[in-house]
């Protein structure tokens, strides 16, 4: 069985993009390959320019958002995007865009952040995930 962690990233809020980046880093640290499938709001968060500007947080915790943002700034926590870039530099991390979402939004790969490796269909992602040991949904 490949030593692999697969992740479906559906959410586009910063509070969910952090765990995606941190889990990817942890998996790389433990010598695992990581496959990330970006769909819906998760893919929206990877449109060109979005990783650097998106500050959306889960509305259920809206009252906590400013405090968390402030704390992260004070403590110099790197952005989720920088963490993901670092994980990608250090190990095998592949970032895939959901073909269906791209079609739906009328986007092309060139509209997306360069961290994205390719555009894949759900079938390909699922059949790859099937071979791995861990699959997460965020």
């Amino acid at each position: 069985m490949p030593n692999r962690m697969s992740m479906v990233v559906f959410s586009g809020t910063v509070d969910k993009l952090y765990p995606a980046a941190i889990m990817a880093s942890g998996a790389v640290a433990m010598g695992m390959d990581v496959e990330i499938f970006l769909t819906f709001y998760g893919l929206d968060a990877f449109r060109k320019g979005m990783p650097q500007t998106n500050q959306k947080m889960d509305v259920n915790y809206a009252e906590l958002a400013p405090m968390l943002a402030q704390l992260m700034k004070e403590k110099n926590v790197p952005s989720w995007y920088d963490m993901l870039l670092k994980a990608k530099e250090m190990g095998h991390v592949r970032v895939h865009a959901c073909a269906m979402t791209l079609d739906l939004m009328g986007l092309k790969k060139e509209h997306l952040d360069p961290i994205i490796d390719d555009v894949v269909g759900v079938g390909e992602f699922v059949s790859n995930a099937k071979e791995g040991e861990i699959t997460l949904f965020l």
Partner: protein
């Protein structure tokens, strides 16, 4: 930040959050040569479990873990 002394490489990852210090150590080990000693400083709680676990799994040697009031020092020898 890396400071190279005669006998060991020091990686100061204080103030960096999980999994930052571990990532610094992995990067440092990659760049070091077999037999070299690397010391990583971490103020992150997770490191106390993560670093020894990774060192064992990756086949290196944890020479020591020294707890201070504000941070811990992990001394690791690259074995392969």
């Amino acid at each position: 930040m890396a400071v190279s002394t005669e006998e060991r490489i020091i990686l100061d990852a204080r103030g960096s959050f999980c999994p930052g210090p571990l990532m610094e150590l992995i990067r440092g080990i990659k760049q070091a040569t077999v037999g070299e000693t690397i010391e990583v400083w971490s103020s992150d709680q997770g490191s106390r479990k993560d670093i020894p676990f990774w060192v064992q799994k990756a086949g290196h040697e944890l020479i020591g873990m020294f707890e201070g009031p504000d941070y811990a020092r992990f001394v690791v020898r690259k074995r392969r």
